[in-house]
């Protein structure tokens, strides 16, 4: 059945409805006063164990990189760029070869994940961390070595409790502490 309009009117309101409205509002307020439904994450003490598909920070596996530049070309924020090196070619001794690897500038990265999705060899991947902190802006511009190191969530490093949220038809989201080893994801 295709979409169709349905004309309605706002329910009318009189004095009795106003009294009922007051009481209803106070009753709902009291209900939650007595039985609060909180989603709050106590962040540094707890942190969310991110799901595998989460578009978090990006790490390069250099061994898989085929220097195709696709990631740098598709990056909408010009955060990922290619650095170029000229070095001897191991296959053809005496010849020089141009090596190109991507590096990332987290000042600009918008975590759209295009680079990871476009990489034809899965050399780039997301790590389940989204709360990495840098002390200054220069540090956010990673070089090739730093780009291969997997960043860790500071809450995880400082021993926070990993939690995950599960859906519940009564309470929306319920926070469940997650047992298990660190890392994962």
């Amino acid at each position: 059945m295709p979409p169709r309009p349905s004309r309605r009117r706002v329910p009318p309101y009189g004095f009795l409805a106003a009294v009922k409205g007051n009481l209803g509002a106070i009753a709902v307020g009291l209900k939650y006063f007595l039985d609060p439904n909180r989603f709050t994450l106590h962040y540094p003490r707890e942190y969310i164990r991110l799901k595998p598909g989460y578009r978090g920070f990006i790490v390069l596996n250099k061994a898989k990189c085929i220097m195709c530049e696709s990631c740098a070309r598709i990056c909408p924020a010009a955060a990922m760029k290619m650095v170029r090196f000229q070095a001897p070619d191991p296959r053809r001794p005496g010849k020089m070869k141009l090596y190109k690897y991507p590096v990332i500038n987290y000042q600009r990265c918008i975590f759209c994940g295009y680079c990871v999705d476009v990489c034809p060899t899965e050399a780039l991947r997301h790590v389940p961390a989204h709360d990495v902190v840098y002390y200054n802006l220069e540090e956010m511009d990673l070089n090739l070595e730093q780009f291969q190191v997997e960043p860790k969530s500071p809450a995880e490093v400082e021993g926070g409790i990993p939690v995950r949220y599960v859906f519940d038809p009564e309470r929306g989201l319920v926070k469940v502490p997650e047992k298990g080893q660190a890392g994962g994801g």
Partner: protein, 417 residues
């Protein structure tokens, strides 16, 4: 010590400036009081509203937009087609899929491709999740503008449920960049449709409580009833969009008049209210959330029945290497072919529209057959709604301005683009 008493009032002409200690004072009119609400004001958002008051009644309201303008139309001219998607979705990150979808559709029209069936349903799925999240956001802002702090926190808290759903689907909480020309970027993860049904059940229950604490609350009724009335003919004349239009009794919803994606096959209603006041606009949003929940349930059923294939047009996916298919079957992640980085779109002009959370968004995309679009024109719903300030707000009391502002669900970043 200085005192305002130094100001001499006699013989002061309109437009004349006089000195006060620390400030210049200009007379703008007889018995007029001009206040600048915003951009640094708790009730203005990223915009300024210049209000002239006669007593407590607004006589002239001038919305001053552009405080978060980013010239997206210009930036889009300099980048390749796919890079425009993350760019334009930044005008309303909480409504990301709805905002980018018409752009993607326009590009698809130019390329003469259509996404496969499952991709259409996946797009609808995220669009409706976004629509609910966007309406909840709007209601939260609306609540706090009326001083109702619980109605601020509740929708924001419940929005988390839908943001979480979107995160599981796309991997990002807000800027999903989900639709791409030809299809979508992810398939639903394991157990997603069950979570979706749970969220729908929860939201239905919560909407009842919203009604009790907010819509049926006598204070809120008093603040909204008969305030900011936009009669049907004026709504048409001003060209406002979305729930505000439907609250004025106009039966217009792009999902209905020109069904895009899978909307033509889904069973839902488009709620239309007659009154045209702020209360009707609040009710339209609540009813629309209910219809969106209905759509989500239908989409969940449909996705469960459908085989897990067809999320990307064959033009891009037919020659995909084995690794791509492995990643898809393992993670549900649709890898983009490297040709996406340099997508060449045939020359032509396309116009596409979609019903975003705040109303109709239209894109005009012109291509010259190069890697970058020649012109991208986007008119966002909030920009078309901004005219309400100028034509509807005068005549109301100053305290009605937040009620009108909140009820039209105006979102400055979206209007400024």
């Amino acid at each position: 010590m200085s005192s305002p008493g130094e100001l001499k009032l006699s013989g002061w002409e309109v437009g004349e400036t006089r000195k006060l200690p620390g400030m210049d004072v200009k007379k703008i009119g007889k018995d007029l009081y001009e206040i600048f609400i915003g951009p640094q004001h708790p009730g203005s958002g990223h915009m300024r509203i210049i209000v002239r008051l006669d007593g407590d009644v607004m006589v002239e309201v001038d919305p001053d937009l552009g405080y978060v303008h980013r010239t997206m139309e210009k930036l889009a001219e300099g980048r390749s087609f796919i890079k425009v998607i993350p760019l334009v979705e930044r005008m309303a990150i909480l409504d990301a899929c709805n905002i980018t979808l018409p752009y993607v559709e326009a590009v698809e029209k130019l390329m003469d491709i259509e996404p496969p069936e499952r991709a259409k349903y996946l797009r609808v799925l995220l669009c409706e999740i976004n629509r609910i999240a966007s309406h909840l956001y709007g209601m939260g802002i609306f609540g706090v503008f009326l001083g109702h702090s619980t109605m601020y926190m509740w929708p924001f808290g419940d929005r988390e449920v839908f943001v979480e759903l979107a995160e599981r689907l796309t991997g990002a909480r807000l800027t999903h960049s989900y639709p791409v020309p030809g299809g979508v970027r992810r398939d639903v993860p394991e157990g997603f449709t069950d979570d979706l049904r749970k969220a729908v059940r929860y939201m239905r229950k919560r909407l009842e409580e919203y009604r009790k604490i907010f819509l049926d609350n006598p204070v809120i009724r008093a603040r909204l009833e008969g305030v900011g009335v936009i009669p049907r003919n004026l709504a048409i004349e001003l060209g406002i969009v979305g729930p505000n239009l439907r609250a004025s009794g106009v039966e217009y919803d792009v999902r209905m008049v020109e069904p895009y994606e899978a909307y033509g096959e889904l069973d839902f209603e488009v709620p239309v209210f007659e009154e045209g006041d702020a209360l009707a606009r609040a009710w339209v949003r609540v009813e629309e959330i209910k219809q969106s929940l209905r759509i989500l349930e239908q989409v969940a059923d449909k996705l469960d029945k459908m085989p897990r294939e067809g999320f990307m047009h064959d033009k891009f996916w037919a020659k995909a290497p084995k690794l791509y298919k492995d990643v898809y079957s393992r993670e549900g992640r649709v890898k983009l072919m490297p040709l996406f980085a340099n997508l060449k779109v045939p020359a032509g002009k396309a116009f596409a529209r979609a019903e975003a959370g705040r109303g109709e968004i239209v894109y005009y995309v012109e291509s010259e057959g190069k890697f970058t679009p020649y012109r991208v024109r986007v008119v966002s719903p909030s920009f078309r709604n901004a005219i309400v300030f100028k034509y509807i707000a005068p005549g109301h009391r100053l305290m009605d301005l937040p009620a009108i502002y909140g009820s039209i669900d105006y979102f400055p970043p979206e209007a400024d683009r």
